[in-house]
């Protein structure tokens, strides 16, 4: 099947392209980005040299590489009541994402080649996006014995992570990094010194003090990040800092880059748009780990994205069933949805406020995450698989969790008025969302 996306504003930071043009897709692969042919003088179903093609009219729309989210919880296997590969990738496609990396805190954990292969095969069968499994650093994510990392890589794991169960032993982390480095694998770390966070449920600060909720101090993340950066520098292991929520951790990442440590970092749309005040009223849909921080942190994260310190925007899409989030605040699980609101939030609140250029925003959601994990996606270069997102930047919409493709509804953004909406998602030349 051949496809021409005609007359859209093509924005591809991987090639420095930002112009109105036609995107020509042949056999699921990007053939070319060519000067647009006006519909009036172009035949209905062909393009110069491309017979038998379907035309998508993208005039007035933004055309980018399909978005890439390197931090997603698809919950399969084991927690299919929250999300599964089909529903999670449907949510991805609806959000303009064509590639997602799924975290290993499943049941069983992604700590064996069989589970890696199962996820890849399942995604090929039912997926609406490419799925790259992230394998665990330690067996059953228990934080002690290393998983069979060479075998996991051979089975198709795209990276290694201890997300949700951060390795506390610095010795285990050091050896894990040394081991990952020899295979060129990136280690993705949730940064937390858990001795500082026992019982914590939200950011330590005046809001937690007022609500009487045990706090998670910012230093717990900063100490974890500092340790991991220093170990990356020692071992040469490529390190990716997951969900940075504090201004100080962003500073530490800046230092790591200055001294040439192989470190990248991400933050999420919620850290860029909310603060711990969202927990007022004991709103469990504003509970995640690391927690929402202060306005000062939010400003620092925005600045760190804009100056390139933070490379990536990733959602940490973390579905939970309604009854799980309707628990007491300290007993409700951490995590919120992200895939279906990410673009609208970033476009409305970061690009719209002038905090981030549109080009940088798209880079942080396409080329940069692909680079961090060396994934062959996030670009519209000729020869690349034709994964494309098309957005209507003028569309205004209201976040309505009832309309989500995800199985879960746990978002703090219900009712938010956003601008900028994914209107079509193309995966390997095939339309997977309209």
């Amino acid at each position: 099947m051949n496809l021409i996306v005609r007359g859209g504003r093509i924005l591809d930071p991987s090639q420095g392209i930002d112009r109105v043009a036609d995107l020509i897709i042949v056999d699921g692969v990007v053939e070319a980005i060519a000067p647009t042919e006006h519909a009036a003088n172009a035949p209905e179903s062909s393009h110069a040299g491309v017979p038998e093609c379907e035309i998508v009219d993208a005039s007035g729309l933004l055309v980018t590489p399909g978005l890439v989210d390197i931090h997603v919880h698809l919950r399969e296997p084991g927690f299919e009541y929250k999300e599964d590969i089909e529903s999670g990738t449907r949510a991805a496609a609806a959000g303009g994402f064509t590639s997602v990396c799924c975290m290993p805190n499943t049941d069983p954990a992604i700590d064996s080649p069989a589970v890696v292969r199962q996820i890849i095969e399942r995604a090929e069968d039912v997926g609406f996006a490419r799925v790259f499994p992230i394998a665990s650093l330690t067996r059953a994510m228990a934080g002690d014995r290393l998983a069979d990392i060479a075998d996991l890589k051979a089975a198709g794991a795209c990276a290694i992570s201890d997300d949700a169960f951060p390795v506390q032993s610095s010795e285990t982390m050091r050896r894990g990094m040394e081991y990952c480095a020899q295979f060129g694998l990136t280690l993705m770390t949730h940064n937390e010194d858990q001795s500082l966070t026992v019982g914590g449920a939200m950011n330590e600060g005046v809001v937690a003090t007022t609500l009487g909720v045990p706090g998670i101090p910012r230093v717990s993340e900063d100490i974890g990040a500092a340790r991991n950066i220093l170990l990356s520098r020692l071992t040469g292991c490529r390190l990716h800092l997951l969900h940075i929520s504090t201004g100080t951790t962003a500073q530490l990442l800046r230092w790591a880059k200055e001294v040439g440590a192989p470190v990248t970092g991400e933050t999420g749309p919620h850290y860029l748009t909310l603060t711990d005040e969202a927990c007022e009223g004991f709103n469990t849909n504003a509970k995640m780990n690391p927690p929402l921080r202060t306005a000062e942190d939010r400003a620092a994260l925005r600045a760190a994205l804009a100056d390139g310190t933070i490379d990536v925007i990733a959602t940490d899409h973390a579905p939970h069933a309604g009854y799980e989030k309707e628990r007491e605040f300290d007993k409700a699980p951490f995590g919120i949805l992200g895939l279906e609101t990410a673009f609208g939030l970033i476009y409305t609140h970061l690009v719209g406020s002038g905090a981030l250029s549109l080009s940088d925003a798209i880079r942080c959601m396409t080329h940069a995450p692909a680079e961090a994990l060396r994934l062959p996606v996030g670009t519209l270069k000729p020869g690349a698989r034709a994964d494309v997102a098309i957005f209507d930047l003028n569309a205004r919409w209201t976040v309505d969790p009832a309309s989500f493709r995800s199985k879960s509804r746990n978002t703090p953004f219900a009712g938010w008025e956003l601008q900028g909406k994914p209107v079509m998602t193309i995966l390997g030349g095939r339309v997977v969302h309209v």
């Binding site: 005046v206 009487g212 706090g215």
Partner: protein, 330 residues
């Protein structure tokens, strides 16, 4: 004034509601001084006290408050309920509402549990203490006790509004980090015009406490200096186990309220304690038993607790037409 629908926190409660509860509670005190302590106000109404945490005085106080107003009071404590079979807070609340309770009084170890209960149930919910968050009826009874002791229950030329505590300094001493009483008191007392100080060891002062409307100090002398009221909080022994304090002995020596420390406060300072007390630790026996200048209000606090809870139940449960008019209560 729009009616209250629940009593969840004093931070969120308008000062007019606070004064209305205190005025109503003042009237309820008269009932408690009668030999027959029973009025028909809430006849035919059912109050459920749902206690997820152990409590003697608060639960008894609510139960007596309900019974003195002729309501039926049912106590549910977690050990003997379906909660121990894993029932969620939401399902428990829905069930209690379905068995036609008119008001639910909830005590829970999780901060925010009362707010969530109020979202799940359409009937009035009273927070009888949630985690470290708030204990609103304790804050109200403390305000009533202070107002009585300092002659602030009625308007005067200087203060034309009843329950105006302006000009009074209240020092709250002890484990502020884990205290819902300290939080409820801050909001209630400052709304009524008082100045509030928090005093305790640095490890028991919550993060960013200085952003609340209090002055914070770790120095007991500074904390008690010229205070009109000294409110002593209970110290739990588990704080030592978690490494927050070295020893009870050291705590008693540095932050314990002894006659010597009390001398730093005003001569007529009122001593309060929400109970239960650890004599010899946060408060010396001499102070607890009133062998000092000034006055000790610990027993008045308990009695005012019943009056405040009667007022809250009365104001939250709309009395039905067949259960007597509102005017009969006092």
């Amino acid at each position: 004034m729009t009616g209250m629908t629940d009593l969840l926190s004093l931070r969120e409660l308008d000062v007019r509601h606070i004064r209305n509860i205190l005025a109503t509670a003042s009237n309820m005190r008269e009932i408690l001084d009668r030999s027959v302590k029973k009025v028909p106000t809430l006849r035919g109404r059912a109050v459920v006290t749902l206690f997820y945490e152990a409590s003697t005085r608060t639960r008894t106080s609510f139960e007596l408050a309900a019974k003195y107003m002729s309501a039926d009071a049912v106590n549910i404590s977690v050990a003997q309920s379906s909660v121990s079979k894993g029932e969620s807070l939401k399902d428990t609340l829905r069930t209690l509402q379905s068995v036609t309770a008119d008001c639910i009084v909830i005590r829970h170890s999780s901060s925010g549990a009362a707010h969530q209960a109020a979202r799940f149930a359409e009937i009035p919910v009273i927070n009888a203490g949630d985690g470290r968050h708030e204990h609103p009826t304790q804050g109200l009874l403390d305000a009533l006790t202070i107002a009585e002791a300092k002659g602030r229950c009625s308007p005067s030329d200087a203060r034309p509004v009843a329950f105006d505590l302006s000009g009074l300094t209240v020092a709250i001493v002890g484990d502020l980090a884990h205290s819902r009483v300290a939080r409820s008191n801050v909001w209630c007392l400052t709304k009524l015009g008082a100045t509030v100080r928090w005093c305790g060891p640095a490890t028991l002062i919550p993060a960013d406490a200085r952003s609340l409307p209090v002055t914070v100090t770790t120095d007991l002398r500074e904390g008690l200096a010229d205070a009109d009221v000294v409110m002593v909080l209970r110290l739990q022994t588990e704080r030592m186990e978690k490494g927050l304090l070295p020893s009870m002995r050291e705590y008693a020596g540095v932050w314990g309220v002894s006659p010597r420390a009390l001398a730093w406060a005003k001569p007529d300072a009122l001593v309060m304690h929400p109970g239960p007390m650890n004599r010899g630790i946060e408060i010396s026996a001499d102070v607890a038993d009133g062998h000092v200048p000034g006055s000790v209000a610990i027993e008045d606090q308990v009695k005012n607790g019943v009056a405040v809870r009667m007022a809250c139940l009365y104001l939250l449960i709309e009395p039905g037409s067949d259960a007597g008019g509102r005017g009969e209560t006092a």
